[in-house]
């Protein structure tokens, strides 16, 4: 187990260092986030639909599609000089490879969310106040689930043509449960309702995380073997 942590950390650190140097995906994701929030801000009619009704969906649609950019890039960077073969040749287990990629993707998506959340508050004039801490918790809970599944699909598609197009098509149906749950919980939080009203959704998010992180870790070796 200590080897999984050591190797996973080495892989995640390497991925983040490459992203820090190249800044390609993070730049695209941030520009995407700003543009979507900007378009929704100016495109909506606040007299027709209340901001509080619209904002949670906009927030999660924005973060989901911005995260796709991270997930697409996760294994694409292993195609340069066929580094993926090097990883598979090394004694690092497939589990540590998955753990490393998952960790790097989580950090990447968390960075996008950390930049996007203040913009969301600014554009939609949402008073987060006491909802901030629980909202951060919901962001973490939902993000873990969809990044776990996304990392698996990203590995599965990396050697296929049109991987960038295929990823959203295949992934989005699997993301519906955590996304619906996250939108529901966010809506209640922004309306200053107690979390007890959404305990069912919270349980669903937690169950999704446990089930899909486990399943993805178990299935991952089959996606990278020839």
């Amino acid at each position: 187990m200590s080897n999984v942590v050591r190797d996973g950390w080495a892989i995640a650190r390497k991925d983040l260092l490459i992203e820090f140097r190249s800044r390609t995906a993070i730049f695209s994701a941030v520009v995407f986030t700003v543009l979507v929030l900007l378009v929704f801000n100016f495109g909506r009619d606040p007299t027709a639909v209340a901001t509080i009704d619209l904002a949670p969906s906009i927030l999660w649609v924005t973060f989901t599609f911005a995260a796709m950019l991270a997930l697409n890039r996760a294994f694409q960077l292993e195609l340069e000089n066929q580094a993926l073969d090097g990883l598979l040749l090394s004694p690092a287990s497939r589990l540590s490879l998955y753990a490393g990629k998952l960790l790097a993707n989580l950090v990447f998506v968390a960075a996008i969310e950390a930049l996007g959340l203040p913009l969301f508050v600014l554009f939609f004039n949402v008073a987060l106040g006491p909802a901030l801490v629980p909202l951060v918790g919901i962001l973490a809970l939902a993000t873990l689930g969809f990044v776990a599944v996304g990392t698996l699909f990203s590995a599965m598609l990396v050697r296929t043509r049109f991987a960038e197009l295929m990823l959203p098509v295949l992934l989005l149906p699997f993301l519906l449960p955590p996304l619906i749950g996250a939108v529901q919980v966010t809506a209640k939080l922004l309306a200053a309702r107690p979390l007890s009203e959404v305990s069912g959704w919270l349980k669903l998010l937690a169950a999704y995380d446990i089930a899909f992180v486990t399943l993805a870790a178990l299935l991952f070796p089959y996606t990278v073997e020839e």
Binding site: E80, A83, G86
Partner: protein
């Protein structure tokens, strides 16, 4: 000792390997010659454990380090990350092979000095020439001091001068392997490029070994003529 026992593999209906068997003891260098599509790369990938053969098995006995950690791979792809420096790449791979930071740094420095890349340690891989990239790939492949070294068309993409330099490096490596007991298996379609490095030679065509024998000091021209006759039918 590296032993291949009855290896067979097909991709869909296309047979890539057909009943390949051989044994190599420590210090031997096997050069496998064959035209494109003969199954050389598939054989190396099976030996490396990247492909599980449909029949047969690979046995590696080297006194305790058998398994993926015992293999080093040099191909026409360097397995290096362009946005990292040469040193960062080597230290990353060393970490995956279980070397601690101090040992990784020392081993990387030693290899880079030996391969004439000491002044490139802090240079981004993206900015290396093809010849330098191939030498960095050797350093990466040797970082964990593997007991088996697999070379897949290692001269691909090198110009004449870089290929000559690289051949000299491989000759040095092959000679060192004889004293350290490392096994080297090289696959190439170019007999002249690889024959001087070999202690054993094999001709591969349509997935089969049509010949496997010790080189026994025969000159390259003689082996090249035999290859053209046995494999290309000239």
């Amino acid at each position: 000792m590296l032993r291949a026992e009855g290896l067979s593999h097909a991709f869909g209906g296309a047979r890539a390997l057909e009943d390949i068997s051989f044994t190599l003891t420590g210090g031997r260098t096997l050069a496998i010659f064959g035209p494109n599509g003969a199954g050389k790369t598939t054989l190396l990938r099976v030996l490396a454990g990247l492909i599980k053969p449909q029949r047969g098995r690979v046995v590696l006995e080297d006194g305790g380090t058998a398994g993926r950690g015992a293999i080093g791979w040099i191909g026409h792809q360097a397995h290096l990350y362009g946005h990292l420096t040469v040193g960062e790449n080597l230290r990353f791979w060393a970490a995956l092979y279980g070397l601690d930071a101090a040992r990784a740094r020392a081993r990387a420095g030693e290899l880079l000095a030996r391969l004439g890349l000491a002044d490139r340690e802090h240079q981004s891989v993206r900015t290396l020439s093809r010849g330098q990239l191939q030498r960095a790939a050797i350093a990466r492949a040797l970082i964990h001091d593997p007991s088996v070294l697999l070379l897949d068309e290692p001269f691909t993409g090198l110009d004449l001068r870089a290929a000559a330099d690289f051949r000299a490096l491989l000759a040095e490596l092959s000679a060192a392997s004889r004293s350290t007991g490392r096994i080297v298996v090289m696959a190439t379609h170019n007999v002249e490029e690889g024959v001087e490095l070999a202690t054993d030679i094999a001709f591969q065509a349509q997935g089969r070994f049509v010949r496997l024998e010790p080189r026994a000091g025969r000159p390259a021209a003689e082996i090249a003529a035999e290859y053209r006759k046995a494999v290309l039918g000239e």
